[in-house]
Structure formats: structure tokens, C-alpha cells
Amino acid sequence: MYSEKKNFEKNQINQPASGITRRNFAIGAGAGFVSLSLSNLLFSSLSMAAQPKKGGKLVYAGSYLNSKHKSLKNAKHPYYGIEIRTRNTYNALTWVDEELNVVPEIATDWESNQGQDVWEVTIREDVKFHDGRPLTVEDVIASYNLHKDKKLGTSFVKKLVDKIEKVSTNKVRFFLKSPSSEFAWNLAEYRQAIMPAAPLDEMGFLGIGSGPYKFAKIDVGRRVIYEANEDYWGKGPYLDTLECVNLPGTNPLNGYLSGQFDVLAAVDPSLINQLSATPNTKIDIAKAGDQIMMVLPKYEGSPFMDKRVRQALTLALDREAIIRIVFGGKTGWASNDTHMAPFNEDFLAKEPRNIPKAKQLLAEAGFENGITLPTFYYAPYVPEITRVLSVAAESVKEAGITMKIEERPMAGYRKWRVENKEKTTKHRFAMGPVGPRNPAMNLFRMARPTYNESGYWHPSAEGDRYIELYEKAMRTGDPIARRNIYHDMQRILQNDVPAIFLTGRRETIAFRSNVHGLKAHSQHWSLRFNEVWKS
């Protein structure tokens, strides 16, 4: 058996070398932030030292509405609730922390076989569900039988998990359909909640989990109120009541300014300055967040069939200008034409902007007088997206590229993306947001030559090589060896440019200065409130 636990420990040790701990980040960035007149910004870590106080109510406004949330009858289910931050009520086997390391939750450790397709996971024995029942391996097995169910289950598990069996009273064994060297990260996904065993079609509807808060009241599509789980096995919860408000299309800023909310859980970058000037307000900025991707529609007659055009476009884009103009230099990051986040050790920096080379590539492709690209359609997933694409379009003009952009409604974006069901490779839609995950999951998004709905990949020799490398990485237990493979994969993407990744936002939260223990998370869905308290 190969011990994945060792990998976990290694990652933990390596992390400071790769970048920054939260404390170091706070200290190091402090001077810069002061010089930017953000004098009232204080990082939550500084207040972490104080003794947590129990009691009180915290109301936060979240802006990531779960598209699966429809009605009261399934609103407590981990798949269908209004709040995709399911960790309020549920636990999964693992959790991805603010540094994007996988850490234990219900699982205490995990290890895989040499082939990376059988994983044994040990679970905690001191966990109770909200109804007082102890959480057992039978519950874990039942939960994963639901998650992998073809009709009722959830995407990642359906694809990956073949079966799960009991090894002992505190250990389960997963048999995977194909090797997955980063399976532990997968177990942290927000829908993979551990619930009390029950018939599959009944599981999850009662909202009983083992998380720090219990469901108290739900207003479909708008609000959910939680109350503290006094028997929680981990740290906290310190608040008596936690409330999530998610009013679709309504600006939560007014609610914050008028004192109705304690926390804005996802802040539009354009509001940072205003919020910074708001009294008694702290802002915490994560290292990364969702990034903005441009699908390059590849169909007969499309200029994007020519690799040189795709390369020219990515070389002409001024990502630094986008970060400066749209994100004020603080809340954005430059991506590398893959889904990887820059602070990840496996991230491979891309070639910088190069206008002469972009022009040369266009000339070689027969566009020496410049090129007008097909219109890029996009939906307003994040408020800053129009600004990002506008700056992008302006920046490529220098290389003789005319890039038209047009907004389309959120709900209809897939129809704009795909011309019809028979011609799924004939993309119309040209942009999508993607959240940061671990390298395996990030890079898998491009590894789909057979189904091209999202337009990430046009079948090609490079595509085949990419898939080969991906499969090899999934069989490779050693993280250092895997990193080399990931770098090769990123080189392919950067050379072939099947899609362009413009920039990403750094997830930002704003909260009142009497709120403590709250940290922004690059994965907005992984934000936890169990250690949050109010003074």
C-alpha cells in the first residue's frame, strides 16, 4: 500500500516554501495595503488570537445561488440546498483548506494501493449526527452509494467510484473505476456529504448531517437559518444562530451598509474601495478564486482552427492591465491558459505578453493586416466580467486583433454555446467561469476529447498526448513525479491554446470588525463558519 498520508504531510511541510502562510501573508502584505490607503483593513488572522466568545447571531449575504435549489421539499439535501457552502450542516470525509491543501474532516487518514485505484479511508469515531446517532462506516458507505448512484448521485463520484465496502468498524475501502492519485481531494467536494444511512431515495431530505450547524428554517430561494449543533465534534460552533441570505439579483451592499448583514461572503472587486472606507469593516482576500475562461470556438471555417491565431490571441492579451484596471491590482490574478491557480506548486508560468510575436504569428497565418475574430458571447457570472472582457478586447487591438464581445442571459448560455445537439463541436458561447481545485481536477477539465460541449478541446494529436499524460498522472502516487507530468500537460495547453484563461478573481469577503475567525477561501463553496464568533 502506498501511503497518501505521507503526501498530505509533505504538502503541509512544503506549503510555506511555495508561498505564504496566512500569518506571513498578513504581515508581508500589510505595508502594501497601508500604502494603498486601505488603512482599516485588518486580516482575520490577527483577531484569531483572541478568546472565542460563545453566542450571538451572524447574518451573511452569499451571492452564489445553487442552480439546483428549487423547492422546500429538497432544500435540506446537500445537492439541492440554497447554500452550496454545505459545510454549515454537513461534513465530508475531507476538506480543502484556505491554502488548497486537503485536510481531514470525517476521515482521519487515507491511503491507496500502488495502482491508485483502491483507497482505504479511516474515519473518526467520535462523530454524532444532529439527531444524536453516532456516525459509522455504514453511514459512509450508504452516503457514497447515493453519491455514486447513476440516477440520484453526484457528478465526480458517479464518474470515479465503482464500489465501497467496509473494512472494519472505522475503515472503508473505495474501489475506483480508474486510478486517481488525488482521490482525497475529490472526497472534499461540497456535495459529498456524509448522511445517516437510509434508502437512497430518502437520503438527505431531512437535512441531518454532522456539521456545526443544524437547519432551523428555510425560505426557498432566499434564506436559510441555522442553529448551533452543541454536540459538534470539532472546533466551535461559537454562534447560536447563523443565517445565510441570498436574494437573487438584489445588491447585498445596501443590506451590509444598513447593518442587516455582518458578512458579505462574495464581494464584487469594484466595491473593495467603498467597503475599505466603511467604518468597522474588515476585508479578507483569498489567494485565488474563480477564473474567467474564453472558449475558442473551433469549427469548420473558424479562425481558431489555426493554432497560430489562438497563440497570437493569448500573446496579445494584457492580463496585467486587466488585473490593474478591473481588480485594482489587488483582487485578481493572471492565469496560465490552464485551470491551475498560480499559488499552487504545480502551476507553470506562461510566456509573457509579446505583441511582435503575436503579429508575426498572425502574419504567418495569413492575417498580416490584422484579424476580426468571431463574437465572444458571455454571461454575467461575476459582476466584473464585462469589465474584464472590455479591457481584454482593448488590449489585443495593439496586435491588430478585433475582438467583439456580447453579453447573453445567464440561463441561456449553453444554448449560445452549442449550435444544436447534433453539432456539439460548433460552439457559439465563448466564456465560462471555473473554480480552483487540485491539479488533477483542474487539468481533467481539458481532458475530454469525446465530448466537446464546453469547447475545451479540439480532437488532435496533442489532445491524445494530453489524455495519456493525465492518465499517467492519475496512476502516479509520487507527488514530485506527478508534478513533472502536470508541467508537461500545462506546456501542451500553453502551446496548443485550446482555450484562453484570462484572469481570475481572488475571493474576497467583507465583514464587521466584531466578527472573528473568518477567512476568505479560494473555493467559495468551501468557506466554513464553525470557528467564527462575534465580540
Binding site: S67, Y80, T250, A411, K421
Partner: protein, 321 residues
């Protein structure tokens, strides 16, 4: 008179059917469907095109538009608004609480707006040409010219952010009690009332001035009838009649007019439900809400016609003829 009313009711039913067809066509033009909204990027990452088509078939989204429309409309005829596409929740369950909330807000607005407009209209009409009339008339024009969402935003800025005495957003549950809703409904109500009072009071002022200039008022004065009696017993009923249709339309349009305000304040009403349904491509919910709106407008128009018949002897005698 009965035949006239029956004719109006029949015409109203035809209009409602046409509205239902138009709404359906409008929702068909929108790109995407309920499944498009339901599936996340993560779902798509692990799904094949055939999987999506199978789901579309399972939810009945691949049925021809005419079949889907007929299935819904034949249910409506017997009082069944159908179910939502993805989770099969009865549409009536989805819209019931928001409908009651919107009706409550509309009632509050009506109960305040019409008497206030009447009072202002009569006073400014009676004291026409004076400073107070000029000032109120100018304010009315301003009030009428500013869109509701601007008034709402200004009220939020003044009374929720700068002087925090009211909530900027309405955080009550959709099934909240009437009392809870009333407590937080003042700002949304005032937002709508300002514009409508301005509009209605202008109409009433003109009607009142016309009535006061009529021959029967002059004769009443010459007969020595007290001024108060002339105003309230003779001029007022005559001045209200021209505004009745406007008042009926105002009430009838309140539900649709509240959409913007519900969005600005986050009021848990039918307007917000409609916007959400459009976003989620829940065509049956959109149709049901629009259908109810159309019924309300048509119903209020009918009531206005009846009121005119009752209040205006000229119309009554004309009908009798």
C-alpha cells in the same frame, strides 16, 4: 346591462387566452431551458451529450412546444397550473405565498394612495391658482416623473443607509404573517405611492376643477346650498368618475408594477417569483403569474365599468336606452 357585462366577460376570457399564448411564445424565444439552468459546469464536466438529452426527455423538455402549451393550458382551465419541470412542485404551491404578499402590499398601497390622491386632488382643485396649489402641482409633476426604482433607491440611501431607521432589504420569510410583512413594507409602499399619488391627484384635480365649473354647481350655489355640501355631495362624485378607469388600471397594474420594487427591496412577492421563474426557465410558473396578472387587470377594468354605471346616471340611462 347583463348582456353588456356578459359580453365584457367573454371578451376578457378571449384576451386571457391570447395573453397565455403570447407569454408562452415569449418564453419559447428565450435561449435555454430549465435543464440548462439546473446543470452546473461540474455536472457537464462528467456528462456526455446523450446523458443531457436523456435528462431532457425525462423532464419532458423535449416535447414539442404546442404539446407542452396545451398540456399546461388544459390544466389551467380546470384550475390546475401544473408542476415545475425539474422537481415537479405544484405551481400553485410556488406562487401562493408570494401572491398573498403582493396582494397585501398592493392593498396597503391602494388604501393609502387613493384617499391621499383624492384629498390632494380636491384641495389643489378647490384652491387652484394659489401658492400651495402651484407647489403641490410642481411636486406632483416631479413625483410622477421619477421612476419607482429611483425613488426606492433614494429612500434606501436616506432611511436605511444614512439614517438607518428602516431595513434596506426586506428579510422576512415568504410565509411571514401579515403583521411581520406590514412592519417592513413601509418603504416599498411609499416608493410606489409617491408616483401614483402624484399621477392620480393630477387627474382628480382636473376632474374637480371641471366639476366645480359646471352649471349644476353654479345653480347649487345660487340656491344657497352650503359650500361643503356642494363639494362633497355634488362636485366630488362628478369629479371622480373620469378618474375611475385610471384608478382601476392603477389597481390592476399594481401587481406587475410591483416587480421592480420587489426587486429593489427584496420583497417576497409575486414579482420576485416571476423574475426567478424567468431566470430558471420555469415556463409554467411564468405563465401562471402572467395569467393571474392579466386576470387581475381585466377584472379591475370590469369593476371600473360597473362602478361607472352605478355612479354616473348618464351612463346608466344610456345603458337603459
Amino acid at each position: 346591462m347583463l348582456i353588456a357585462i356578459l359580453r365584457r366577460v367573454g371578451l376578457s376570457l378571449i384576451i386571457i387566452c391570447l395573453v397565455a399564448v403570447l407569454v408562452f411564445l415569449a418564453t419559447e424565444v428565450l435561449p435555454g431551458d430549465a435543464l440548462d439552468v439546473f446543470l452546473t459546469s461540474d455536472d457537464l464536466m462528467t456528462m456526455e451529450a446523450e446523458d443531457i438529452e436523456a435528462l431532457r426527455h425525462e423532464y419532458g423538455l423535449d416535447k414539442p412546444a404546442v404539446e407542452r402549451f396545451w398540456q399546461w393550458f388544459s390544466g389551467v382551465v380546470v384550475g390546475d397550473f401544473g408542476v415545475t419541470f425539474i422537481d415537479k412542485t405544484p405551481v400553485s404551491d410556488v406562487i401562493w405565498d408570494p401572491l398573498l404578499n403582493s396582494l397585501l402590499l398592493a392593498t396597503v398601497i391602494t388604501l393609502i394612495a387613493i384617499p391621499v390622491a383624492l384629498a390632494i386632488g380636491i384641495l389643489t382643485g378647490y384652491y387652484r391658482g394659489r401658492k400651495a396649489d402651484s407647489m403641490v402641482s410642481s411636486l406632483a409633476i416631479i413625483g410622477y416623473s421619477i421612476p419607482d426604482f429611483v425613488i426606492g433607491t433614494l429612500l434606501i440611501m436616506f432611511f436605511a443607509v444614512w439614517i438607518p431607521i428602516f431595513p434596506a432589504l426586506i428579510l422576512v420569510f415568504a410565509d411571514a404573517s401579515v403583521l411581520e410583512l406590514l412592519k417592513v413594507s413601509l418603504m416599498p409602499a411609499v416608493t410606489v405611492i409617491i408616483g401614483h399619488v402624484a399621477h392620480l391627484s393630477r387627474l382628480l384635480r382636473v376632474g374637480f376643477i371641471e366639476a366645480m365649473n359646471c352649471e349644476f354647481v353654479e345653480r347649487a350655489r345660487l340656491s344657497g346650498i352650503p359650500e361643503k355640501r356642494i363639494v362633497f355631495r355634488h362636485a366630488l362624485p362628478a369629479s371622480v368618475i373620469p378618474s375611475l378607469n385610471s384608478m382601476a388600471l392603477f389597481i390592476g397594474n399594481l401587481l406587475s408594477g410591483l416587480i421592480v420594487i420587489e426587486k429593489v427591496f427584496g420583497y417576497p412577492g409575486l414579482g420576485l417569483q416571476l423574475l426567478e421563474a424567468v431566470d430558471k426557465r420555469e415556463v409554467h410558473v411564468v405563465q401562471a403569474v402572467t395569467f393571474l396578472g392579466a386576470v387581475l387587470v381585466i377584472g379591475m377594468n370590469l369593476l371600473a365599468d360597473l362602478a361607472i354605471i352605478i355612479l354616473d346616471p348618464r351612463v346608466r340611462s344610456h345603458k337603459h336606452e
